[in-house]
Amino acid sequence: MSRLLEIDDLRVTFRTRYGEVTALDSVSLHVDAGETLGIVGESGCGKSITALSVMGLIPQPPGRIAGGAIRLQGEDIVGASPARLQALRGAEVAMIFQEPMTSLNPVFTIGSQIAEAIMLHQNVGADQAFKDAIALLDRVGIPSPDRRAHDYPHQLSGGMRQRVMIAMAVSCRPKVLIADEPTTALDVTVQAQIFDLLNEIQRDFGAAIVLITHDMGAISEMADRVAVMYAGRVIEEASADDVLDFPQHPYARGLIDCIPALGRPDHRLAEIPGVVPPLHLLGAGCAFAQRCAHRNDRCDREKPSLVNHGRHPVACHGAEESRL
């Protein structure tokens, strides 16, 4: 049986003024129906590029998919025609963006924007589409949806706008829903509402969700499985419990330990020193080596690959040699 979404050895490069850099390097991921995959990492780790690749939205040029495959229900969409990608986007795979204000068109009512998304992929009339749009607004928890459908985006709060974005994204019942930092711009109580809504939608529609975030707390609440990314590579992948309770990679451990927790008494936070290296300065060795307390010569020479050294797959020489 083939997976719902499978990314296989994906390599994406970008032309920059420093020459061609590798933004994604042998990334392999998959997600099944009804499952939530969390992709976590700092800015610049490649998590958004992964999402855009799946949507067929990598700007080309300067970007280029240099190798690998992205299979959606068995169909490789790398190199698919723009028309085919257009048909898949929205219908089979949809995306929710970080900033709900700039992702909605300010000059159309939210009802008509959702209706348009519906008509793009389904053979229904304008009246029916608008009725469906109101039903969707109701489904995502917008009060008095028949009235709100006539509102413009600026009349809604940030949380409401993100609900509208979700309504639009699920309007054609996509199999895969990609949420790229969907709550970063929102307040905590609203973030909690959006998380709860995404979980409900998943239960109702059986969609697979790919949640992209920098927040291990969000991973804990939302994800079944986690991929930790660093400098364009997946460095650890396992069930959420496994990663959160037994992180193998020093970077994953750092991300978990550096969060100031709600219930923890006052003590010094764990630090990950330094910053993510720019992609054009990645050398032959492990990209994390410069910031790692456990590095040795081998880390500088040789890139570790994602291998299971006992517990779950991790790309770390230290884990392999059990010297962490």
């Binding site: 905590v188 709860d196 969000a218 709600l262 219930g263």
Partner: protein
């Protein structure tokens, strides 16, 4: 009891809005409504709240970067709101500020050495050589290298820029440092670096922080005392441990329930115990009673008609008609 470093009493900030029509009365927005709190020297006081709660406006009005329309702000017993502009300029060396956005808070056209030195230039402290020595000392204190002195802000990462911002704030040896969401624009790994730096500086220099944040984990980590704001008012205030371990106000409880935490696992079937729906009401026409009543699971009739007063309940001050632990 010793006098506090900062004593804010009934601080109120009102913004004029455009008139809806030529003859209509000018509407006002009360962003901060009779907020009072005290900050002792060497301590950190946190204000948490969501966007629109008035937490940043409170801090800005307290140090006169936003005009207050009422109340008192006593710094070492002297009311900052009563000072004339020149006297206030002199006081600025005692109260400094760190901003949220490390990208817009540094002048892109100035070298970082000039940015950090500027407060001394303005206040005419020391000789040029003294000033340069002080900048070098500050660079070391916040973890920057002296060979970076002559660079421009865009040549630094977000975390480094925040260090520059901190160095600038420390130039004049202030007593009070206002930190407005100092880590919320940074990546988590960098957040920890800056939070640790702030903790070190507080210990080494005996600084006091007025710390604004929406992130409860950060506030818990940094602050000794916390106030929770909602729609321009403090709804609960108390020592950090008491407030986090036994919150009395339903809004504080909702905030804590909403904050993502590693202890809450989807895999273990975690369902949020306390949910609040909807958004905060508009500050232009605040409801007559408790501002949280519309979203509150416990609200009764009195909540919609009478605003609750802030009153002592155990270890905390709370403004609620029905305080107590959450009902499960």
């Amino acid at each position: 009891m010793t006098a506090p470093l900062l004593d804010v009493r009934d601080l109120t900030v009102r913004f004029a809005l455009p008139k809806p029509s030529l003859f209509a009365p000018r509407p006002h927005l009360e962003a901060v409504r009779q907020v009072s709190f005290r900050l002792d020297a060497g301590k950190a006081f946190g204000i948490v709240g969501e966007s629109g709660s008035g937490k940043t406006t409170t801090a800005m009005a307290a140090i006169r970067l936003t005009r207050a329309s009422g109340g008192q702000v006593l710094l070492d017993g002297e009311d900052l709101l009563q000072l004339d502009d020149e006297a206030m300029r002199g006081k600025r060396r005692d109260v400094q500020l760190i901003f949220q956005d490390p990208y817009s808070s540094l002048n892109p056209r100035a070298r970082v050495v000039d940015i950090v030195r500027e407060p001394m230039d303005l206040m005419e402290i020391g000789t040029p050589q003294d000033r340069l020595d002080r900048v070098r000392e500050l660079f070391e204190l916040v973890g920057l290298r002296p060979d970076q002195l002559n660079l421009f802000p865009h040549q630094f990462s977000g975390g480094q820029r925040q260090r520059i911002s901190i160095a600038r704030a420390l130039t004049t040896n202030p007593k009070l440092l206002v930190c407005d969401e100092p880590v919320s624009a940074l990546d988590v790994a960098i957040q920890a670096q800056i939070l640790n730096l702030l903790a070190d500086l507080k210990d080494r220099l005996g600084l006091s922080y007025l710390f604004i944040s929406h992130d409860l984990g950060v506030v818990r980590h940094v602050c000794d005392h916390v106030a929770v704001m909602y729609l321009g008012k403090i709804v609960e205030s108390g020592p950090t441990d008491a407030l986090f371990e036994a919150p009395q106000h339903p809004y504080t409880q909702a905030l804590l329930a909403a904050a993502p935490s590693l202890a809450r696992r989807k895999s273990r079937g975690y369902v949020r115990p306390l949910k609040v729906s909807g958004d905060p009401p508009s500050p232009i026409n605040p409801p007559p009673g408790c501002a949280f009543a519309e979203r509150c699971p416990r609200a009764g009739d009195i909540c919609r008609s009478t605003p609750p007063e802030l009153a002592r309940s155990g270890a905390v001050d709370i403004a609620c008609h029905f305080p107590g632990p959450p009902e499960v």
